[in-house]
Assembly symmetry: D2
Homo-oligomer: 490 residues x 4
């Protein structure tokens, strides 16, 4: 085990701690770990770099944390047998920057005075680094470089007695987006941030409560969907049943629009809406806004497929597989380095000449971030003989980075932050380019449009309106660099 | 390295040696191994259990053979650097039965008197075991349990001088289906069986010849397609250019129909026909033959997609993703054990309730083999609220096993060999079931129908008409078991 | 990575945290990590289960911790290259009980407010568990189950400003035996417990200071021995040179007698005395006390060799290799389980019949603990034809367990705690059995005998006089078990 | 698995195929594999690079071949359970040149027409490469680069019917030194070359016959020694008992003298003589021939120990451990590269200053090959304060390389082939240097001296008189290099 200690540059840059992740937890089921493994497998699209499960057997906690896919690491019986007990929580992880190292893989665990406590987190704390610095100053020792770990320390240091009070004490100190699942020697706990930016649902299997990032993790095991955990809600399951706490002042829910655009699996129901239907609606709305004359609709696989079907039905143009995906590689957004990302396209996609040759095609994609992939796909279509290539994007231009758990590049690498639509069209080399409008997105979601006073969704990537303070970010910008800090960290 | 020696039962059963594979070779290119790795990656759908590359650097042969995916094993620079040279051949492998062991992974290599010789094989020899027994009786020593190895020994034992003569000597002894690529210290060689059952194409990159199972392996590296290797043709590339030999009496080509139905990648062009277009045509023909009243067409992903698009367009019923596939597992047909195969469906597919609930759906699949997967998919659709489930299959009923390189179960496990269509419908639990007709298949291929005297395709799985003798199979049936042989083998 | 959390039974039993270890540190040398690896290799006899090195490159700390031998893990260039910097500390580890897990392998590291701090420890804290419990109660989070970790937390929580003050604050809270080497981003620090139970020497190479458990670690790299760190001394090396602190009230040094009997390498000089000479003197004294009539002196290899040479010279009986050791296994005392320990003898030793057959032999061993190995060796000698077998032990009967870093069984498994000498003789099956007397040990060390008021050595294993309080042990005996605690720990 | 094909230079040089190895076999015992593993462990000193076991369960052969030590690879129950059956053979391997690759690890196995055949070999064939070339010319395919494999092919190609006749046919073609153990589905076979150069003994455990390179492999499992296999004898064990064949014209036995000097374990009895006693006798004879005035006798550990004890007793000078060996590294002669060999000394040995300082010492070593190690040891003694260093060697000067299974450098790297004794003394830097005389060796063995007409031992390393033709060597010297062959091999 090699480790380098010292805050990596990217943590200082405010980039280092963000994760795009999936969480799962179950209480009271004899096959807790096996079910958690299946649940994480269904959430695999939320993070492919690492996964972990912590189970509690009534006496001891057991933990398995591994780099790689759930199916590769948690499908064998002997691994599950090392995770005995009838309560378990799990996590799949995709870390944005630098190396993912094993000690950062969740769930994290700590021995508190009252007993062990494991926690898994989807989201990102916008004041995590600020709290981390304060804790270290007070003598705390960090075992990871994740923002999640501050929760462990905050709970450990609370002066309250009951676990729930300590947990709420900790929640009151943090800002940002989170869906937590936690496990003590008595309880399963779940919490969603005050705006409900990241999703968390409650299900039930054989009478046992389940928490999961998406409903697809319930479906895989045949569990029943009960309800979404509400924004700002803390739920606790133990022998005595369930308790719900609302420790924050009430706010309107404001979920992240990106769950609908790209994150969630199409068969999930998020916030009561079918993701598949919403994506088809984005495509249909886009067709209404900017359908060109064309012979064929070609989705950029696989994330562009539902929008392309919706576009094709609305525009009454045939839907065809003009791009074939090689299933033996992961999806574009996931590759860890720019270099591999560029190689990726050739390895992942190929043109289906029989569909494309001599045709006017509409390429449908879910989003446009850096644009580097799009450049190659447009060129691949032209190489395969496409007569015209019209590029349509089922989300508005991304002009601002995310700080709530989505891996986005900094502004200067966002294509839409650097160019207007015509500039972007030239960059990707298409004959035309159009995005769905911001209001179009809201309409497709069933709203009349965006409510500028109380936006119904977290949409700062398109609008620049961040829903919470960005404490770490501001600290970084306002303070001189503390070089002495560079030589530390665990 | 553990090895068990002794002919495994399954070899005796005539089941053991068959493989579904992809082959690739390139001559004279400075990046021979890297290009071969990319070519194999494009052929990954033809075999995911193991892969290997042999390169020749002008002095020595270098070999890397690994269990697992091409991308997992051959994507790192250090592996490619261990394969220097400007000629290389490669192989991806899927073995039907028992364990795949490293010594069976191809290309195989032998030191002949005239120099080294490496060979990779897609197909299956129907007299491989018979020849193997004869060779062992004569003092030959086997390093693998593959049928391919007999080619090495036959070439080694030929009394001829020139390599081409020795190679043709060997070809004259074997029967069955094959596409070979071979590499000596001077030549790249390719050969296709007299009926052209298995495919092999010739391409060119930077002036260097390439042999590959499918055109998609040319596309990934931007190579130009030149022509198909003809049935019964042997091609040899060396410093002096290319030579073509036709050592067998001329026969009409009779390619395997399964390449179009299931094997080949949709963006490949096989025998001059776009696989995607043919699959859509299968779907359209099936719609003409048996379209039910329905609300929505749902493909069984991913192999049923093109036929479903063709069916939907012909029948004018909306095409929708009613089943979502989890991309983090391989495809159904590939799983090694029945047990995993059954688990597989839950891990791989999930119902998209938003599409299915309350609807009359048409499920489109490319083939029906054992039917075990179909049972679960139909049930999954009903669980998701489907009002009616109509199952349509874009190939005729499979009544006979294959012996030419396709993994099919023995007759007693083929659903269509045990039941009529109504029996099958009851088995899978659909409201209706229909297959495309055998003549329908030929029509979709552009023929007027099947020519019973000279069938245009190898189609014994549907008709029972095997195109070559089945020597090993007959030997097994006629001879008493030689138990003394069980304790041997390398 | 699998981890089980929850205080293992053996920690509760007071058995779990003890280690027999070697430490090494160097300050200011360009090859710090490579030299540390060589030093640890020379200290390999002090612990073979795991090893670790932490280096500081002026900006970041780098850590490599591995299970297994130093030579297997730290001999390759790429490992050393992952440990850049000109200061480093290292540790070899042998843990007594249960599994050794990676997170327990030292050096341990923590991020303090003032910067990183790594520490390695040889010895055992007799109040480690008591402090650990207090820290957890106050909100500290433990990353390991070692007693060493409490030092990290005590340093982190000190209210003092200067590192040396925080370090001394921490030392004041702990009891027991220790030789520490620590590394901050500015300093190398060493400390020896107030009685000097565990050894620590200061050396110099190319003008750079070195700390090591034994002088053999200086010899391997050609470093010069400067002096022993004194009991109760804290030394600090930084850019400004060296500082020595004596934070404790002065006491007479009282080193562990076991370093001379068994622990230290024979070529080391401990406390100014050659270990080889002392062991020969033990043998000679034993010969004076109890030499039998015999034909040949046979050492139990390898730890009995020097005493046997001394015995043979004093008694004027030929020294012969009557037992041959298989060098491809580790030494008896080291095997992790009783089961392997029993198997071990057959695998490790064999009788040299040519020496033994028909002879009256004296078997010379360094110590007698459980006696299980001795039983087998005596029997092996008789099987090889020995006429008489006289067993001589170059240390007194071990009647009490150690709590200062030596792995000894609990009292009920110590042969000498259960039997008198005649009972032990019967148990091992020898014709006669004798031990060196306690006073004999002191005489061989150059003393007039044991000073009962101020014993010159730590010798509780023979006398029951423990030199410090046994806080954890007493807490265990006096308190009810806290079952709630069982479910905790990191 | 990476493999490079093409005869490596060193095979062409006649250096590549030699091995120093140990063999073991047992017939009819329910724990055949476990006993073989223990036997190989006792033979570990004969080869540490790799080991293998083949077992036969009455129906199938099972093989495990691994790089590394027996104890590391064959001590776990699951490995032994993969080797069921009541007959087994095993091999430990040390290959002289280049990489040891898994396909060269023995036992080798082949499927013959009459059934499987496994073989393990200690020794070296002096016409192995010549036969290999002929076999390849005839169409044979090689799976390894060992000389042993030609035995498999020769047996396979014999036209005789009975196994024993085929085996003897093969023996008649080979020249050189060998001790073979072989296993068929019915028999255990052993064979020793016509001069008995390499040793092979017969033992018995629970009524089951055992073959082993040395008696120490019998002792470890408590087996009874029966007799040595005679030179030129072939023994076969099967259900009907034992048969002994003598297929060669009778010759006087002429065992390799190096087994006594260095190879065999001191507790083994080779050719009826205790190896320990013989080594002591070498030391005593050397003392009679050239004892200097000195204060202390210091063995070069561990191989010089018995000769040093004999020398010390004869010369009446105290025997002391002036050099301490670090047990956590292998022995000098074993290291694979010159570079590591040089580093090795510092890692392996250290001076015991307490013994050496100010003394006139006699260093006793078993042999002097390149002299590079001796240079460092002499220097180490002087650095530790030795007043005089007298070097004594318990074997005569090695002037000629071996071709019978011992790893020796070519002549130009043998110190004694380049220098006279005074030159060697200067090279190693000793105050005096002396070797035992060739006649002294014979006297210590109980002979009156060397019989020049019929030397009683194989001693070409000292005398240049090779006992068999060196066919491969002569072929290499007389023939032009066949470059075409360089590009071949399996």
């Amino acid at each position: 085990m090699h480790q380098s200690y010292g805050l990596p540059e990217d943590i200082e840059d405010g980039d280092g701690l963000r994760e795009k992740c999936g969480v799962f937890g179950i209480y009271g089921h004899p096959d807790a770990a096996a079910i958690t493994a299946l649940g994480l497998h269904a959430l695999q699209h939320r993070g492919q770099e690492a996964a972990g499960i912590v189970a509690f057997d009534g006496k001891r906690f057991h933990s398995e944390r591994r780099m790689g896919l759930v199916g590769d690491n948690f499908s064998r019986r002997e691994v599950i047998e090392r995770l005995p007990g009838n309560s378990a929580i799990g996590h799949t992880r995709y870390s944005t920057t630098g190396e993912t190292i094993l000690r950062n893989v969740q769930p994290l665990f700590a021995e508190l005075n009252a007993g062990g406590f494991a926690i898994a987190h989807n989201g990102n704390l916008t004041n995590g680094l600020t709290i981390r610095r304060r804790l270290v100053r007070e003598g705390a020792m960090m075992q990871s470089t994740t923002d999640t770990e501050v929760m462990l320390h905050l709970v450990a240091r609370s002066s309250r007695n009951r676990f729930i009070d300590r947990f709420v004490d900790a929640l009151r100190e943090i800002e940002g987006a989170y869906a937590f699942v936690g496990l003590t020697n008595k309880k399963l706990v779940g919490a969603r941030d005050p705006l409900g930016i990241r999703p968390l649902v409650l299900g039930e299997l054989d009478g046992c409560p389940i928490l999961a990032s998406e409903t697809c993790a319930l479906d895989i095991i045949g569990a029943k969907y009960i309800r979404d955990i509400e924004n700002g809600e803390v739920v606790i399951f133990d022998e005595d049943g369930v308790q719900s706490h609302k420790p924050f002042p009430p706010q309107r829910v404001r979920p992240c629009i990106f769950e609908y655009i790209y994150f969630a699996r199409p068969d999930s129901v998020v916030g009561g809406r079918s993701v598949y239907d919403i994506r088809k609606a984005f495509g249909a709305q886009l067709a209404r806004e900017s359908a060109p004359d064309a012979d064929v609709i070609v989705p950029v696989p696989d994330s562009g497929v539902p929008a392309a079907i919706g576009f094709a039905q609305e525009a009454n143009i045939p839907y065809e597989l003009g791009i074939i995906r090689n299933h033996y590689v992961g999806r574009t957004f996931i590759e860890p380095t720019q270099q591999i990302r560029e190689l990726g396209v050739r390895l992942k996609h190929s043109a289906n000449r029989a569909v494309v040759n001599g045709k006017r095609i509409v390429l449908l994609d879910d989003s446009l971030v850096r644009g580097t992939t799009s450049v190659k796909i447009v060129r691949m279509m032209r190489d395969a003989g496409a007569r015209e290539v019209h590029f349509r994007v089922a989300s508005p231009p991304i002009t601002h980075p995310d700080y709530y758990g989505i891996d986005t590049p900094e502004r200067d690498k966002l294509l839409a932050a650097q160019h207007d639509v015509e500039g972007m069209r030239q960059f990707i080399g298409a004959d035309s380019l159009a995005f769905i409008s911001v209001d179009g997105i809201y309409k497709a979601m069933g709203e009349n449009g965006r409510n500028p006073l109380h936006p119904q969704f977290t949409d700062h990537c398109f609008t620049g309106e961040y829903p919470t303070p960005l404490t770490d970010r501001e600290a970084r910008d306002s303070q001189p660099r503390q070089l002495s800090l560079l030589a530390e960290a665990s």
